[in-house]
């Protein structure tokens, strides 16, 4: 880790990566980014010339899940090397120095490479009580974020927590946790929601930046369209079962063994936009639905509050207990109305009868 020198391609060749493997990596990135024909060549050309950018990785109220995702960029090997060669100058989970020496690495980048470095933020930023619920080196997260992100070329908010507060931001949000977009204003920011976010999307975003000099196209929530433009439901390999009406009813039943749709087990695929079915996890090994568990909607806004209960399609009626589904409540309401009308009818009949008797 040090000053940028030579292009990424030069460094790759020095590390013994063949031209063939390099081109394979460029093709993979072009596919991930959904680039048209010629995309791989464009990426190759850019990486041959691009100098190693510096990246600093900030961790706030996190569980380290996005770092774990980052560390799974194992295969193809070239992706891992590219990420190494990004000159990751600061990352608390993997860097050698600690304490003041570690902080020096961070603030040297901020000072000497102002406007030229990338920041990845993982974890939420607490705002309550002066930001005391997360400090690094004695400094509150909000202050670190403002300084480091404020002087960066671009900030990548990786994971649900850095996007919208994630799990610490879930009700009742005891620490006032928010994501980068709500904590730091006036910065170039791109969001990669997910719990955790998929490293393939991080690599794709950085490669896009290196190739085209700009961040990828995003939707209205600042999420790159190449990764968050499709619904899980529309790319799911079990979609045919959904359309056919073949649903798993109980864990382990015949349908579950046959790989039927997990809709009735609470799958939030119809509500969630992410490329999990296409890219999958752990170098394309699998993803939740393929493994037999419904999507929990972890890339959706405030998913801990909006996509729970994970095992129900619709949330429960608030204030009536865990089993009070909308159907039970609605059916109860209709039944109560019918009962009320019957009572009304009987009352009418008895009133009529008593008024007739009065007349006699």
């Amino acid at each position: 880790m040090g000053e940028a020198s030579g292009s990424i391609y030069d460094s790759l060749r020095k590390k013994g990566v063949s031209r063939r493997d390099f081109m394979k990596f460029c093709s993979l990135m072009a596919a991930t980014l959904a680039l048209p024909v010629g995309g791989a060549a464009k990426i190759a050309e850019a990486l041959e010339k691009a100098p190693k950018p510096t990246l600093v990785w900030l961790e706030f109220q996190d569980c380290c899940g996005n770092t774990e995702s980052f560390l799974r960029a194992n295969d193809p090997t070239v992706a891992q090397i590219v990420l190494d060669l990004l000159s990751v100058d600061y990352h608390e989970t993997i860097m050698a120095p600690a304490g003041k020496q570690a902080e020096k690495s961070l603030y040297d980048v901020v000072k000497n490479q102002k406007g030229k470095y990338l920041v990845v933020v993982e974890g939420a930023i607490p705002l309550k009580d002066g930001g005391v619920y997360c400090t690094v080196g004695g400094r509150a997260a909000i202050d670190i974020a403002k300084e480091v992100c404020g002087n960066a070329m671009a900030t990548i908010a990786m994971g649900a927590c850095a996007w919208d507060g994630g799990i610490p931001g879930a009700a009742p949000n005891p620490t006032g946790a928010v994501g980068v977009k709500d904590a730091v204003k006036d910065i170039t920011l791109i969001n990669l929601p997910g719990c955790p976010a998929n490293v393939v999307n991080l690599t794709g975003t950085i490669v896009h930046l290196l190739t085209f000099g700009s961040l990828p196209l995003t939707d209205s929530m600042g999420r790159p369209l190449f990764a968050y433009g499709h619904r899980i439901h529309d790319d799911c390999e079990r979609r045919a079962h959904y359309d056919a009406g073949r649903f798993v009813q109980i864990w382990g039943d015949e349908g579950h063994k046959k790989g039927w749709c997990l809709y009735q087990m609470g799958c939030k695929g119809p509500e969630t936009f992410k490329n999990c079915p296409a890219q999958r996890w752990n170098q394309g090994t699998s993803w939740p639905v393929e493994a037999g568990h419904g999507c929990i909607g972890c890339a959706a806004p405030h998913f801990w509050d909006t996509m729970t209960p994970f095992y129900k399609r619709i949330e429960q009626v608030p204030g009536f207990g865990v089993e009070a589904t909308a159907d039970k409540f609605g059916a109860g309401l209709a039944a109560a109305t019918a009962a009320g009308l019957i009572v009304h009818r009987i009352a009418r009949a008895s009133k009529k009868k008593s008024s007739e008797e009065e007349e006699k």
């Binding site: 359309d243 009406g245 809709y263 959706a300 909006t306 619709i314 609605g330 209709a334």
Partner: protein, 220 residues
């Protein structure tokens, strides 16, 4: 007792058409909607396309329902005075007075039935609430569908709602409002049958044929 009866054309064709098409649409929407929310038919063959058909019928019925709402809104300005938008809101003092009278009668607090050639004010107000529920179902339904088919048209029809409510909340209320509509429909049928026998002016027949045989007790 012989009374002078005046045959009056109250419910024009667009009113009756939209009423009955809505009736059938809501049945189709409810059955298919209940399936979509919680599939209750279990697959019998490998060729089944149950959810596919349910969603298709739901969408068809939804578009039909949307057409009926648009026609009725237009007719609320183009139709006769019984169809006019003013009958749905208690704008005049007389209307507010009628609203109180009708409610008191339904609750056995008065012995004077709310005769009306068109809608009683209670009916008008109830149908206005129902109309708002219909609008919500259309907007929330198309908001849910816009996730399937994004684009300008579906954003206009309901996708915009996702900027104000999260998708799961939209789904929850879309489901609940169906039950609210059932409740109003139940009360509506009950009151129609009751008021028909009380007013004796052909109320029930009028939603089929359009004519009431008013006795003069109605407020014209």
């Amino acid at each position: 007792m012989a009374t002078e009866r005046k045959k009056t054309y109250v419910w024009e064709i667009p009113v009756r058409l939209t009423h009955w098409v809505n009736f059938f649409s809501i049945i189709f929407l409810s059955v298919t909607g209940l399936y979509i929310g919680g599939p209750f038919i279990h697959p019998t063959s490998s060729q089944s396309y149950t959810m596919g058909w349910m969603r298709f019928i739901h969408l068809l019925a939804g578009y039909t329902f949307l057409m009926m709402v648009i026609i009725r809104v237009y007719w609320a300005f183009a139709g006769n005075r019984y169809a006019n938008w003013r009958v749905f809101l208690p704008l005049t003092r007389r209307q507010r007075h009628d609203l109180g009278d009708a409610t008191r009668y339904y609750l056995f607090l008065s012995k004077k039935p709310p005769y009306a050639a068109g809608h009683t004010m209670c009916a008008g107000a109830a149908y206005f609430v129902l109309f708002l529920l219909f609008l919500f179902q259309i907007f929330s339904g198309f908001a849910l569908f816009s996730y399937n088919s994004p684009g300008f048209f579906h954003t206009l029809l309901g996708g915009w709602l996702t900027a104000f409510m999260n998708i799961q909340a939209i789904r929850f209320w879309h489901h609940m409002v169906m039950y609210f509509i059932w409740v109003i429909a139940l009360i509506h049928v009950y009151l129609a049958v009751w008021l028909d026998s009380v007013e004796g002016n052909g109320l029930m027949g009028s939603i089929f044929g359009g004519y009431k045989f008013i006795t003069g007790k109605e407020w014209e």
